[in-house]
Symmetry: C2
Subunit: 556 residues, 2 copies
Amino acid sequence: MAKDSLNQFFAFLWKAKEDVAEEEDHMHVVAISLFVTLLCACIVLGHLLEENRWMNESITALLLGLVSGFIVLVTSKGASSRVLQFNEELFFIYLLPPIIFNAGFQVKKKQFFRNFVAIMLFGVVGVFISFAIITVGTRYLFPKLGLTGLQISDYLAIGTIFSATDSVCVLQVLNQDATPLLYSLVFGEGVVNDATSVVLFRAVQKFDFADFTALEALLILGNFLYLFLTSTLLGILTGLLSAYIIKTLYFGRHSTDREIAIMTLMAYLSYILAELFSLSGILTVFFCGIVMSHYTWHNVTERSRVTTKHAFASMSFIAETFIFLYVGMDALDIDKWKTTSTSASQSLGVVVILLVLVLVGRAAFVFPLSALSNRIHKSGVTNISFRQQIIIWWAGLMRGAVSIALAFNQFTISGDTKNPDHATAITSTIGVVLFSTVVFGMFSKPLIGWLIPVGHGTVSDSDEAPPSPKGGLFFRPDLQAPLLEDGNRRASFYDGVHFTIQGMGRTSSIQALLGAPASTIHHFWRSFDDSYMRPVFGGRGFVPIVPSSIEEEDHN
Amino acid sequence: MAKDSLNQFFAFLWKAKEDVAEEEDHMHVVAISLFVTLLCACIVLGHLLEENRWMNESITALLLGLVSGFIVLVTSKGASSRVLQFNEELFFIYLLPPIIFNAGFQVKKKQFFRNFVAIMLFGVVGVFISFAIITVGTRYLFPKLGLTGLQISDYLAIGTIFSATDSVCVLQVLNQDATPLLYSLVFGEGVVNDATSVVLFRAVQKFDFADFTALEALLILGNFLYLFLTSTLLGILTGLLSAYIIKTLYFGRHSTDREIAIMTLMAYLSYILAELFSLSGILTVFFCGIVMSHYTWHNVTERSRVTTKHAFASMSFIAETFIFLYVGMDALDIDKWKTTSTSASQSLGVVVILLVLVLVGRAAFVFPLSALSNRIHKSGVTNISFRQQIIIWWAGLMRGAVSIALAFNQFTISGDTKNPDHATAITSTIGVVLFSTVVFGMFSKPLIGWLIPVGHGTVSDSDEAPPSPKGGLFFRPDLQAPLLEDGNRRASFYDGVHFTIQGMGRTSSIQALLGAPASTIHHFWRSFDDSYMRPVFGGRGFVPIVPSSIEEEDHN
């Protein structure tokens, strides 16, 4: 009998706990349904607004998110605006990796490495300058507005949160095919400055700034170099391993699915391993993408090539849209707005101060560092004109989901805070992100059109994996067409392009030997790649059997 | 001062809570790293074991999971074997939908609808028969082993848990291209019997079986019909909506990414909406896949077609491998084994009883219902031979992750249980799943090879979306080759096949009018489809502008 009543007790307990679990599950299903529906709406709206020069996909998603958040707020009578709480893990573990990997996978490698010095200047030195200006500025100005509850570590965190460019926003505003130099500079900066801000953010949380010495500054620098090199190396090694595995085992003979699956999984593995070892996952997965597009992509079958190119781009597209929708819906987070004790004018003041500091902080390094970069590259290959400097300044002003995620990390405990000044920090971060994305974002396309008329862009190089029609705004008929038309013809077409450009590269690199050192490095890299790397890891023209589809099928 | 100390208090609280959150985050990252690494290992091993007739991908993944679970158990000194706890939500919300959608997307539609009556017989009547035998059998035999703690509702739950075939396992064992009739029968049954077991499982948890009347039985039947029809309708409507949106807006003109994204998102939307309305998501997403492959797939550009076909197949492949790995790792769940109070011989007895009942329960409906089906289809088109009946019986014996998920739902509270008999129910479910997947699975390929020698299979129909090289074992050179070779040539090639077969279909359907009613239905459906559906929703030969890639690019 005792056992029976025990069983009844367990049954009761189980029922009660199950009801709670079921309720939670149901809310989750509701949230997913809403988000997927809104994502579909975003895509359709984005398509309809394609021709509009003021709008882009991120602004559409952000506004749609705001509107839906408002509707949820009204229908729930002010109880809640959030269907899903902003979740750092969801953002850093699931949404960010496909975006950055795809960027590395589709980036124009030659353009990127040619501008490497300028990118490093912007991404490292620039972030430190911007960080110093924002930290000092807020430390000096916030107390004047009556915001006294923040400590020195909070101001340092605010400095790192607002000093880094959001690479996801850059992808929306600049186009790789229309303005390759600007894209590689600003997006490259965005990737590198992630590593910088990770180091800075950790340093801010760890070091005791009461007795800050020159030694500590050196430690931060050393830490940065270590992080940069190890993260890059991990990405390159994972990429090479994937190339080696696919080349050696030659999956395609049996299954296209396996090739695609192993490429996707190993790309993700590079990111998650970097996170596991507390490195910069963004740097790692970016370099993994570059290596995969240079070696692995050429070792798989034609079908896998088409599939990976478009599937990665689509995943990235969905993740980007999701992030902006998410930020939009989260903006009306009523709990934070209630917790903050500042008045409306104070809040506005904080947002304005932050925006001005972001503008000033960025101007303070873009123009001097561009001049420095022009002085280093005397050859004029990557000379950054003043008009281009203005665009670099403007296009890097947007702050996005990374800022929000870092602010949540610094100022909340699992998304909640009871400290009114911390709540203010969160709400003003959201304010800055909304304003910068919508207003700065809206003026970007017209500004670029005004400063750099069509046809005035830098000559783009074709010696790359074909670009994806990202955002769908600019097609490159010369490279897109063959992909659709004819698999075999395409291969030969590409080989043609390849050899032409390689030939050109060799001629010009002899001249370059006398002038710019960048081209020489490129030339040596090409020789090394052709002699040692490609025979082992594959790559264009180095795959053992050309995957001629018909032959392959016949053998099975 | 009060504010300062309050701030310090919050800082302390925040630090403590953050440490816990960080610890959890880190464990999560470790788990993901391990899983992704093991997934890569599974794919490589699966490739190397390709030629082995005893192994398949699911057995490899299951064994690899067991081995890793054992290593974790040993290295953690028996503290834990689970890196990730089995999570119903992860399974039902994220892993199952891509698998079932892909099955619908790649299924041979003609074959499926031709065998519709037999599939419904197996999937509905069969499950009820099997359910009755297993429930009565366990109710009678378990107390004889000393297992007295289970109530009548538990026995009914065990009946539903073990009466349904696991459609994921079926995909691994049967091959659509080699044995299309068997595949469509057993896999179709697997999809339909999910709806049946959802109804049964809910009925078991809801109804009071103390005063079970004929009215209640009728209610269950009515409930089933409602669930079946609404789920199917939802899937068809979502599929048609996606076709209509893509045909009307014609995304491809601007962006391939958008087409792929909207197809993926709407497929998932159908599943999550079904879950939202408490329908059978599996049925919904299966029919959504069928409709999408019939209409939507033909409305997108060539690139999107190649990409969706292979990307969906790869997603499904990753999800399948993940599930088996997961089940394998979870099998050594030490807590459950500790909680169960039964001896080793008792546990073995329970597993043996369950396995015998599964064998008997399935035999009790496969052979009589096959005879019934043969009697209904007198024409002989879908006559099921005795050898085929044996394979249908054998290939449907495997129980997989769905059984485990349902067992966790019935016998645990968020994965934990303190009741020893409930723990026994969980451990023996795991035992049955492991044994049936590994042992029954291993003998499946040799059994099929022995009973149906190559070339003895039913003639396959070609009037379908090209099959994906699922599992990579069987290629169909006639349909695969053109996909790789030449987009334009391929389109005309397909149109040729299409019209030929349509012509054949029309001739034979006049003869069929006198004989089998199934062909007549098919003929009427074709006329209806061509006159009313395709002009609105697109489909092969009904897309407004043939997406000739070059023209398209030139317009941009």
